[in-house]
């Protein structure tokens, strides 16, 4: 956005009495998402080498759990101090990132030793560690990572309790809450956005790795949990769909659309179809929630992530062992046809304004 466009936008808001005074000076453009992804991957590669350096150079120090936890904590504290020092140098940020990743790995190892590899307890402890780091280390990339790692560790704890079907719904609810808060708390916008992206990544990981009722995809676990209590499993599946319906209702309120109006009913019908399909394909609801929330927030990156999540989940669904291929075919074809019919109803009930019609044909 160049200077003239900024000025024009400011004047438009000024005319609507939303802002006053002089146009504020421009701030530096944010780093594009793919550059951040590249930096994150490089940060992890660097962290692995730092970890190997510590492991070989100071192996006597980190052999015991207190040594590993103290060293890891010192590394994370050093990283947080570097982030907080306000140093804008790219090297300092990358170094801090790698330092923190290495520290987290050491803390995880130390905690696992301390808790005698009790999977559930380790997951809960790591959730607490990542939550603390999320607030303590003020760096966007690091916060996205902490949000992802903390929420996924919590999802793993649910999995260990044989309540894995609840995980996608809970993570999706937290995700929606953060994105719906973005405009209400603009001063905490950077924090909320980092958390929101981290939770979106966590939804994808959760629906692919943990959403099934009988899957055991975690090779490091003691044993593959059985489906568990059937009623509880079903309640978890219901939660995924319910969250999608909840998100839809929240959006209708956001857009001042009465629930009983035609558009309101159309949206709720579409959400209902997907919620029903989520009982058998539990990743559908959460992935659609990412797409819809992204669109509602005017965030194309998030909406794009939702599309990727949906395609990824459908590809993964083929291999899920919860149902036979025939049952999956019934679910997908049934939901697909229902959505196409819902579209026809939508077009019939809400004829497009001229401009939108033209755009759709372009």
């Amino acid at each position: 956005m160049n200077g003239a466009e900024r000025q024009e936008l400011w004047e438009r808001l000024e005319a609507a009495a939303l802002v006053h005074g002089e146009l504020p000076p421009a701030v530096a453009s944010p780093t594009p998402w793919f550059v951040r992804v590249m930096l994150g991957i490089a940060g992890w590669i660097g962290a692995l080498f730092l970890l190997a350096f510590i492991g070989i150079g100071f192996h006597s120090l980190i052999e015991s759990w207190p040594g590993a936890i103290i060293t890891g904590t010192l590394l994370c504290a050093g990283a947080a101090m570097l982030f907080r020092s306000g140093l804008r140098a790219d090297f300092a940020s990358q170094f801090a990132l790698a330092l923190s990743f290495a520290g987290q790995a050491l803390i995880c190892f130390g905690i696992s030793e301390l808790l005698r590899w009790d999977f559930f307890a380790v997951c809960l402890a790591m959730t607490a560690v990542e939550t603390f780091l999320f607030f303590a280390a003020p760096n966007f990339l690091h916060r996205v990572w902490s949000a992802w790692a903390g929420s996924f560790a919590l999802a793993l704890a649910f999995w260990d309790l044989k309540l894995s079907t609840f995980a996608p719904g809970i993570v999706t609810a937290a995700f929606a809450f953060l994105w719906f808060s973005e405009f209400r708390h603009p001063r905490r916008g950077a924090l909320l956005r980092a958390g929101g992206y981290g939770l979106a990544a966590s939804i994808i990981a959760t629906v692919i790795m943990l959403s099934g009722r009988s899957e055991g995809v975690l090779w490091w676990s003691r044993a593959v949990p059985a489906p568990g209590n059937d009623l509880l499993a079903w309640l978890g599946l219901v939660l995924s769909g319910t969250v999608l319906i909840g998100v839809s209702i929240r959006l209708l309120f956001w857009e001042n659309v009465p629930l009983g109006s035609r558009p309101g009913k159309a949206v709720l019908a579409g959400a209902g179809i997907l919620a029903a399909a989520s009982l058998k394909a539990p990743g559908l609801g959460p992935c659609v929630a990412i797409l819809v929330v992204g669109h509602a927030a005017g965030n194309r990156r998030l909406a794009g992530l939702g599309v990727v999540a949906l395609l990824g989940y459908l590809s993964h669904y083929y291999y899920v062992l919860d149902a036979t291929l025939l049952q999956k075919a019934e679910v997908l074809a049934g939901a697909g046809l229902s959505l196409l019919i819902a579209r026809l109803v939508l077009l019939k009930c809400l004829p497009a304004p001229e401009s939108a019609e033209e755009a759709s044909h372009a």
């Binding site: 956005m1 936008l9 808001l13 939303l18 802002v19 005074g21 504020p24 453009s29 944010p30 594009p32 550059v35 590249m38 930096l39 490089a42 940060g43 590669i45 660097g46 080498f49 730092l50 190997a52 350096f53 150079g57 790219d90 090297f91 990358q94 170094f95 790698a98 405009f183 209400r184 708390h185 603009p186 956001w254 558009p263 949206v267 579409g270 659609v288 797409l291 669109h295 927030a297 005017g298 194309r300 669904y317 083929y318 036979t324 291929l325 999956k328 075919a329 019934e330 997908l332 074809a333 049934g334 697909g336 959505l339 196409l340 579209r343 939508l346 497009a352 939108a356 755009a359 759709s360």
Partner: protein, 323 residues
């Protein structure tokens, strides 16, 4: 839209815009969807999700090992759906998104019919023949459809056919070079596809200007090229010795094309990551033989320095392009 969104949220963060006015400001700036935008979004979402899920449902249905249904019934069911999609294409036309969605669904069903033939009659054909024939048969559809997603789908089929062919028929060179041969073939294929794509897009083929598709091919080409360079540098034995020089040439080409001609920062970021990975593998190969702690620290710091320098350079290029 992303810039306006960021700018308004920045003003709100600075306290120049009240929190309760943020949504109104974003609406005014056209960042948040209007009623018409929502309608269009729901229309597209229902259309694409409905089409993809229905097509996936048919494929899952066919993949199920049926004993109860006779051959003719199976064929009849798939062909009925296939004819229905073609009817929709004819009825809706190829200019509308719904028509394009039906065409993509039809293209997927062509493969489903071939798979069913193979499953039913045990023709003895190799898997690569299925994908190759499928790809050849939908070429006219791709040309008529003028639709980026269908082109990407076609390229995926060709990649699968080449991979399966090379896996089945190693030949004499296959014995010598092993998996490297496959990497080379896929690299040439995807590089050629990328070059054709970008040239046609530059010469005004509007439907090829969708960057997501070109970026997907850049990612595939870059990953293959990096794998070849790493294999050349780290696994000297059995390597053709061309991986590293070709990787350098690829990087140079990416730099010239995407820095000065097409200006796509995504490709440059991929190039930076490729450099980091290759340099790391090279250093690892030569420095980690004795597992010295200092070597690990040195490589770690090199990775951090390279990524920091790469990030700094990419941000500068991004800022330059904005001006």
């Amino acid at each position: 839209m992303t810039d306006r969104r960021r700018e308004i949220l920045e003003w709100a963060e600075q306290g120049r815009l009240a929190p309760e006015d943020v949504r109104r400001a974003l609406k005014l700036a056209g960042v948040l969807p209007s009623g018409g935008d929502w309608r269009l979004f729901l229309d597209r979402m229902l259309l694409w999700m409905g089409s993809v899920m229905s097509a996936a449902g048919v494929i899952f249905f066919l993949a199920y090992n049926w004993n109860e249904i006779g051959h003719f019934t199976k064929f009849g069911m798939v062909e009925a759906v296939f004819v229905a999609t073609l009817f929709l294409v004819w009825k809706l036309g190829l200019e509308r998104p719904a028509g394009k969605a039906a065409l993509l669904g039809g293209a997927v069903l062509v493969g489903a019919i071939f798979a069913l033939i193979g499953q039913t009659y045990q023709t003895g054909a190799d898997s690569f023949e299925l994908f190759a024939t499928w790809a050849v048969l939908i070429v006219p559809w791709m040309l008529v459809g003028r639709f980026a997603a269908l082109c990407v789908f076609w390229l995926l089929l060709v990649n699968l056919a080449v991979t399966l062919y090379t896996t089945v028929f190693h030949g004499l060179t296959g014995v010598v070079f092993g998996p490297e041969r496959l990497l080379w073939q896929l690299l040439w294929l995807n590089t050629a596809a990328l070059a054709i794509w970008e040239i046609l897009a530059a010469y005004g083929v509007a439907w090829l200007r969708e960057r997501w598709a070109a970026r997907l091919i850049i990612t595939a080409g870059g990953a293959l090229c990096t794998a070849l360079a790493v294999s050349d540098l780290c696994l000297r034995r059995g390597s053709s010795g061309w991986g590293f020089p070709v990787w350098l040439a690829w990087l140079a080409a990416v730099y010239v094309v995407y820095r000065f001609r097409i200006k796509d920062l995504y490709a440059l970021a991929g190039g930076v990551l490729s450099v980091i990975v290759t340099v790391t593998c090279f250093l690892g190969k030569h420095m980690l033989r004795d597992h010295q702690a200092g070597s690990f620290l040195f490589i770690g710091l090199v990775v951090i320095a390279l990524s920091a320098a790469g990030g700094w350079w990419l941000k500068r290029v991004a800022a330059e392009e904005k001006r």
